[in-house]
């Protein structure tokens, strides 16, 4: 994308006109939650003003319209993932709930004591804690694969960790800290060779790269709406429909049943079996609008833009004394740049940047095992998206340089 292209896209995001602390907002926290374009805001608003009713119930016009729009959103998600059957798409609150759904509906019923789940040290807590809960309940072991010397997950160690007792292999598509895109096909093949389920946490990939669940070899793929410019409170789990069909429900209630007696019930077909209660209808419609927007811009173009900004930011930060960055460099590196100013806690750096209108995240990024592997307690993190400009990266790097001077009295040896 040219600077002109980005300038035009920015007009779609009303929030980018805001000023924060008397400065133009520089929003570098899209990996935590992306801003929504007006197309999404308008789709949600239009639905609520004109079409809202409950879905899959009632014979009236509004309910029929709402149902059509909601099921249209499901088909839109399937198309986004290059999946041919919308029945494989279950709406959830977010990627976290999607992974928990797999842990419950698949894990609790298929895993036995002594079985193993293979993850990597670089997973988000959303792709660790659901497995820990399952492990405690079922007597299952969770094995973590370490980083290699190049700040990427060691895929030789990953292949070696997958063995006879492995029942689930779960890893990320794009790391929320390292920023890299993982090649997953070989991992999928290794998992399938031992009959294991291959689960992909796509929360950071969905906003940035084209996804083809079949080409990846995924059995399950999870992502969140608010990271792709959609609303919060909506996410999706895609699972191979022929597998999903064999699983029992996760939550019980309305919508997910076939027939209910007072002492027992039978359950609906997929995907309704996994959507108990009234779903997030407006949010699902907003998510579909976000996916329309992403595909109109083009995910290849977004990925190129993210990578160019990451290269530029890493190169500029490398020119500063006393600033450390983390993660690999190369064509697999997307627009996520974790960094520390030596001797200064990242929260203090983030407060300094915020005073200049620059929003970054600071903390462990819900990836405590990875923080330990990197030898840090926490980092600051700048993350870029389709609306981020090179001028914003410049403003950010210049402010990081000034923060170092501001906090210099702290960095004197204790």
């Amino acid at each position: 994308m040219t600077d002109h292209d980005v300038a035009l896209l920015r007009r779609d995001f009303p929030i980018l006109e805001r000023r924060v602390n008397d400065r133009p907002l520089v929003y570098l926290d899209s990996a935590a939650s992306a801003q929504a374009p007006r197309q999404v805001l308008e789709a949600v608003d239009r639905y609520r003003r004109r079409h809202h009713a409950n879905v899959h119930r009632g014979a009236h016009t509004l309910s029929a319209e709402a149902t059509e729009m909601y099921e249209g959103a499901r088909a839109r998600v399937a198309r986004f993932l290059r999946a041919d059957d919308p029945r494989g798409v279950v709406f959830t609150r977010n990627a976290t709930e999607a992974i928990n759904l797999v842990a419950h509906a698949y894990g609790r019923h298929r895993l036995r004591e002594g079985d193993e789940i293979v993850v990597t040290v670089a997973e988000h807590h959303a792709n660790l804690v659901p497995w820990h809960l399952l492990a405690a309940e079922r007597g299952v072991t969770v094995r973590g694969v370490p980083l290699g010397g190049d700040a990427r997950v060691d895929h030789d160690a990953l292949a070696a960790a997958i063995g006879e007792r492995t029942r689930i292999v779960a890893t990320y598509h794009v790391s929320n800290v390292l920023g890299n895109l993982q090649p997953l096909r070989a991992v999928a093949d290794a998992a399938h060779a031992v009959g294991a389920l291959f689960v992909v946490d796509g929360a950071q990939a969905a906003p940035h790269v084209p996804i083809d669940v079949a080409a990846l070899g995924a059995d399950a793929y999870a992502f969140s709406g608010h990271k792709v410019g959609g609303p919060t409170g909506i996410g999706a789990l895609w699972m191979r429909p022929e597998l999903l069909e064999t699983l029992p429900p996760f939550l019980g209630g309305g919508e997910m049943i076939r027939r209910v007696e007072v002492d027992h019930s039978s359950y609906a077909d997929i995907p309704m079996r996994f959507e108990a209660g009234t779903p997030a209808i407006a949010e699902a419609i907003g998510l579909a609008a976000a996916l329309d927007y992403l595909d109109a811009v083009g995910l290849e173009a977004i990925w190129d833009h993210d990578r160019a900004l990451a290269r530029y930011a890493l190169a500029r930060l490398a020119e500063l004394d006393g600033v450390t960055t983390y993660g690999p460099e190369g064509p697999d590196r997307g627009g996520i740049v974790p960094f520390n100013v030596d001797g200064v806690h990242p929260h203090d750096v983030a407060s300094f940047l915020d005073a200049e209108g620059i929003a970054v995240r600071a903390g462990h990024h819900c990836a405590q095992p990875l923080m330990r592997a990197l030898g840090v307690d926490a980092t600051a993190r700048a993350s870029f998206w389709l609306y981020t400009t090179e001028a914003e990266v410049d403003a950010f790097v210049d402010a990081v340089a000034r923060s170092r001077a501001f906090f210099a009295p702290l960095t004197v040896a204790r």
């Binding site: 200064v344 990242p346 929260h347 983030a350 005073a355 600071a362 702290l410």
Partner: protein, 162 residues
């Protein structure tokens, strides 16, 4: 950047580097861990209590300048004070960082006032004080003095999430 400058003024920076009350008392009458899970600030606070007063204070921890400065200022302020005075100070500090006014007894602690204009950082300044509150709860005034170290860890104060 006035809110920021006020918050990080020299006194805070100085206190974050200070080592006078760093360490662990062993034995201690109260031993309490505090943590902000969302940002990873950690604190281990140990106290000696005698004759209704806090006679010695040591803390160890890691975290941002604000959480560490707050712990250092707190240790300085409460050592040698009676429990009643310490409990009053906890109330005054909480009121201050939540923007509910500056009590004259706060003294040097008033440098923490600026944090009320950095809402994201209030929990950093509060950590030392919520940990102190929990430590005193494990060793109620009027209860047996000295003897057994109070439980730490799982019943420690936790702010935020993530």
């Amino acid at each position: 950047m006035t809110a920021l400058a006020q918050m990080y003024q020299a006194a805070i920076l100085e206190h974050a580097r200070r080592t006078r009350h760093r360490g662990v008392l062993d034995p201690a009458d109260a031993r309490q861990e505090g943590v902000n899970p969302s940002c990873g600030d950690e604190l281990l606070l140990t106290l000696r209590l005698a004759d209704g007063a806090v006679t010695a204070v040591r803390y160890e921890g890691k975290g941002c300048a604000i959480s560490q400065a707050s712990a250092s200022l707190m240790a300085e302020a409460i050592e040698g004070r009676s429990r009643a005075e310490v409990e009053a100070l906890i109330r005054h500090v909480k009121a201050m960082i939540h923007g509910e006014g500056l009590h004259p007894d706060l003294g040097e602690l008033a440098v923490l006032e600026g944090v009320r204009r950095l809402p994201a950082r209030v929990k950093c300044a509060a950590l030392a004080w919520t940990t102190l509150e929990a430590a005193l709860r494990t060793h109620p005034a009027g209860g047996p003095s000295g003897a057994e170290p109070a439980g730490a860890g799982s019943d420690g104060p936790e702010n935020g999430g993530g």
